[in-house]
């Protein structure tokens, strides 16, 4: 069977030091994949290889093959790939560019030349899902960080892509909004979409992801079903957060004999 995303022998470096080295990964349709790893381990870089931003927009040393929906990312334009893959970046401030909240969500849909009524319908729907409908005419620059984050999420989800990439989408959200976001992603997954999310909050992944990979030293260190990976003893050794159900008393707090 053809995998939705097939990464083989991928190496990438921005400069001299390799960020990803000889990495292999395949993702199937309908997976909810969580990516974790220490700070600077290459998680964002890995996401960027999945929609052609690397190698098309970011320069560096790119080796190996990435196939997305059967398309070789090296030979396909980012705007072409964007019809199948949507991405939400880490920093909402650098993504927002319209002068009105409404226009920001309509942006991708206008690029796709969807009919006007369809654009209006989708913008209303996704602004509603994120509770932003009352702000439709406001300047996005004046929203709070969390509201901006919701706006970038609405803007990407409104494209209704088959594959949704998210880079730490809950980092600016309060707990309630983060749970809502994950519920939304979960239901998108049930519709048959593929969700790939970089997330520090392992508890959120424990509740939602079907599979988790750990990026470590430019490779995939651990890979498997969510529970199995998150209860792996190496998680703590890598400095990652062990989700509550699997937590043991930290060494430093244990009574010494």
């Amino acid at each position: 069977m053809v995998k939705l995303i097939q990464i083989s022998n991928l190496s990438f470096s921005y400069g001299k030091k390799a960020v990803l080295s000889n990495l292999n990964l395949s993702v199937e349709r309908g997976e909810f994949l969580g990516i974790i790893g220490p700070v600077g381990s290459g998680k964002s870089t890995l996401l960027f290889t999945m929609n052609g931003v690397i190698p098309h927009l970011i320069n560096g040393n790119f080796k190996g093959n990435v196939l997305v929906c059967g398309m070789d990312t090296r030979k396909t334009k980012v705007s072409e790939l964007s019809k199948r893959v949507g991405i939400v970046l880490q920093d909402p401030n650098s993504q927002i560019f319209s002068l009105k909240v409404w226009d920001e969500v309509a942006f991708a849909l206008e690029n796709r030349k969807l009919p006007k009524e369809e654009i209006a319908r989708r913008v209303a729907k996704y602004l509603g899902l994120f509770g932003l409908e009352s702000m439709r005419d406001r300047d996005p620059n004046n929203l709070s960080e969390g509201q901006k984050q919701k706006l970038t999420l609405a803007s990407t989800l409104a494209m209704e892509p088959e594959i949704i990439l998210l880079d730490e989408p809950s980092s600016n959200l309060d707990f309630g909004s983060a749970v809502e976001l994950y519920n939304m992603l979960k239901s998108l997954q049930r519709e048959g979409r593929t969700i790939i999310v970089v997330e520090h909050d392992t508890e959120m992944l424990l509740d939602n992801a079907t599979r988790v990979i750990v990026v470590k030293d430019g490779k995939i260190g651990i890979d498997g079903p969510t529970k199995k990976v998150l209860s792996d003893p190496r998680i703590e050794r890598y400095g990652l957060r062990v989700p509550c159900p699997f937590k043991k008393t930290p060494k430093s707090l244990r009574v010494r004999k």
């Binding site: 931003v53 927009l57 334009k77 949507g86 401030n93 993504q95 991708a108 803007s155 990407t156």
Partner: protein, 226 residues
């Protein structure tokens, strides 16, 4: 914030294309006919334009921020060249620069970014260039806010720029974050299906009777220049 300010004024309602033509012409007059009467008339006109646009003049003066340095720069420069006439020429230079900046800002305050883009495309400015220009106008307020934040974050770490020195700890992070922003914006735009080689802009600008009148008036003004 240096950004479009929605208002219902005569200046706002002028077609973006007419505004651009007038802007170019006025700047040309200012440069070619450099003299005190022209400068005075010009300053009065700038003042009038601000009044009729119902944007208080304090707004651009506050928005200028650190750019005041550029406005005042001619004074020490001219003083360096000639101590006697320097102050006089320097002030003229400053008024000249101030007028240019005020007019550019008025353009931004009273014209939607979308209309500026459409007008540039109408005048056959290459689409990529037009797009870059409008995006940079769009990002002025973002940069301003960024600058404020950097200033605060350096100040809380006891940084105080020395007078008449280049504030490296403020300029370097500002440049760096602007470059990073620009890069990430490009990523985000293309990831949402934007294709820079294939920008489609529909021009839905419409000329009003007042715009036609202004276009007619452009002709006698042109003869002033040549």
């Amino acid at each position: 914030m240096i950004a479009f300010i929605p208002k219902n004024s005569p200046v706002h309602s002028i077609d973006a294309r007419v505004k651009i033509l007038y802007f170019i012409l006025l700047v040309l007059i200012l440069i070619i006919k450099e003299s005190i009467p022209v400068l005075v008339a010009f300053s009065l006109m700038t003042l009038l334009l601000y009044i009729s646009s119902s944007i208080p003049l304090t707004k651009p003066l506050r928005d200028l921020g650190a750019a005041w340095v550029f406005v005042l720069l001619p004074i020490p420069l001219h003083l360096l060249i000639n101590l006697q006439t320097g102050i006089y020429l320097g002030i003229l230079g400053s008024v000249f620069t101030l007028n240019l900046i005020l007019l550019s800002l008025l353009m931004i305050y009273t014209t939607e970014v979308k209309s500026i883009l459409q007008a540039l495309v109408f005048f056959k400015v290459p689409r990529e260039l037009a797009f870059m220009l409008t995006v940079s106008i769009r990002f002025l307020p973002v940069m301003q806010e960024r600058l404020d934040r950097i200033r605060i974050s350096q100040a809380v770490r006891s940084y105080e720029p020395a007078p008449f020195s280049i504030p490296i700890p403020i300029i370097v992070p500002l440049l760096h974050s602007s470059l990073k922003r620009a890069m990430e914006l490009a990523i985000s735009l293309e990831s949402r299906g934007f294709d820079p080689e294939n920008i489609h802009t529909t021009i839905d600008l419409r000329l009003n009777p007042a715009d036609y009148l202004l276009l007619l008036l452009l002709l006698p003004l042109l003869s002033l220049v040549f």
